[in-house]
Amino acid sequence: MQNLVFLLILLLLSACATPKPSTDAFTSAEEALETAVQAGAEEHSPVELRFAREKLAEAHKGMEYKQFDKAIYLIDQSEINSELALEKTRAAIVRGKVTDLARENEILREDFESTYGEDFK
């Protein structure tokens, strides 16, 4: 199905020529993906990370089929998914820290309340 789509796109694009995406665009997308992985996106934002990878893979395929227009969009979409994955990962990590700290504070509060009673409230 997708191959068919690419084929159609390829046919379409062959009519009106578009410039090839720069290698810098690929590098940028790959770096964004790597940053997200390093931040912990595999754990905290696996769906967006998968999109980023798939889109990057499709972009490479598009290059093979000379569908440059499509490849440019896919590179952008891959990169923005990496960016979202990174942002979600950061948020998830800090949310985890917040949850932990809130629990610790609660334990601490209970501890102090049992030690000092009404004075602590």
Binding site: I9, F51, A91, V94
Partner: protein
């Protein structure tokens, strides 16, 4: 994330639809675009989220810009779909970014809360320690006070004991002293009374002696002179009053029982010498008889008439002659 998947699926379907449309003819984009409407409503939803309001303004700005770009894009449908997709991602990024910042703020708040609790607990701990120290101090002060009180009470008790012992001793001493004083004063009173009595007696007897007896120490011994007042004038008989004087003379004589006694009768120079001698002898014998009658041993006593030859005063005056008329009782010194 499910939404993302759905959106992705939808967008993929839309992309395919768009492609189909594109392939069908190079027609213009339809006025109504469901995908775009959906993305717009997502942005509105994010902006309406009060919990996230104010966070990640930059990311939100980029999302708005991306959406505007998608809205204003003309021509190529693939490009428009791409821009809608990018706008959707930008909105998701803005949401995640806002959530991140909100969580960071929440984390900071929790850390502040934590340190506030720690500060409060350390203050309470200090307060508690202070109270405990205060209590401990009060307890120890109370103990010291108790000890002091006990010591004071002990001291008071012992001093009371000492005092009562002292008082008892003093009372006893005083009682004894009082008793002794009473006894001694009674004794003294008795004594003084007796002494007074004795003194009176002695004074009386001395007075009588001085009245009736004239004592003289001579070479022979103590001489008691019985004056002529004791005798009836010109006679040898003793007056009644002479008896008491004689008793005293006997007392004197009996106080020296080993000494011999000589009784001498004397007269003044008036009258016949021989008559005077005889009278003196008679008076001496009379006194000797009286003394023996009063209990003097007769063996101790000798009597003699000495006449007018041994005067003790002048015969020229009546007073002198009176002194010369006498009987001497001599207690001889062996």
């Amino acid at each position: 994330m499910n939404r993302t998947v759905v959106i992705l699926a939808v967008s993929r379907i839309l992309a395919l639809a768009a492609l189909a449309v594109l392939l069908a003819a190079c027609a213009t984009a339809p006025k109504k675009d469901l995908a775009l409407e959906q993305v717009k409503s997502q942005l509105q939803e994010l902006q309406a989220d009060e919990a996230l309001a104010g966070y990640a303004p930059l990311a939100l700005g980029e999302a708005k810009r991306a959406l505007r770009q998608a809205e204003t894009a003309s021509g190529d449908k693939t490009y428009r779909i791409h821009l809608i997709y990018m706008a959707d991602r930008r909105i998701q990024i803005a949401r995640a970014s806002a959530q991140y910042e909100q969580m960071e703020a929440e984390f900071d708040r929790l850390e502040e809360e934590r340190s506030a609790m720690l500060v409060r607990s350390s203050k309470l701990e200090a307060k508690r320690a202070r109270l405990e120290a205060e209590q401990a101090r009060m307890i120890s002060a109370a103990r010291v006070e108790d000890a002091n009180r006990a010591r004071e009470e002990a001291q008071q008790a012992s001093s009371r004991e000492e005092e009562s012992a002292r008082n008892a001793y003093q009372a006893r001493e005083e009682a004894e002293a009082a008793k002794a004083l009473a006894v001694s004063s009674a004794t003294a009173a008795e004594l003084s009374r007796r002494e007074a009595d004795l003194a009176t007696e002695q004074a009386d007897s001395l007075r009588r002696q001085l009245e009736n007896l004239q004592l003289r120490q001579t070479e022979s011994g103590v001489v008691v002179t019985l004056g002529d007042v004791l005798f009836e004038t010109g006679q040898s008989g003793l007056k009644k009053e002479a008896q008491s004087s004689l008793v005293e003379v006997v007392d004197l004589l009996q106080s020296q029982p080993d000494h011999k006694i000589r009784i001498e009768g004397h007269t003044d120079s008036t009258g016949d010498v021989m008559a005077n001698l005889k009278l003196s002898e008679q008076r001496a014998n009379k006194v000797m008889d009286s003394l023996v009658a009063l209990g003097v041993d007769p063996v101790r006593v000798t009597a003699a008439g000495m006449g007018e030859d041994f005067p003790i005063a002048s015969n020229d005056t009546e007073e002198g002659r009176s002194q010369n008329r006498r009987v001497d009782v001599i207690l001889l010194d062996d």
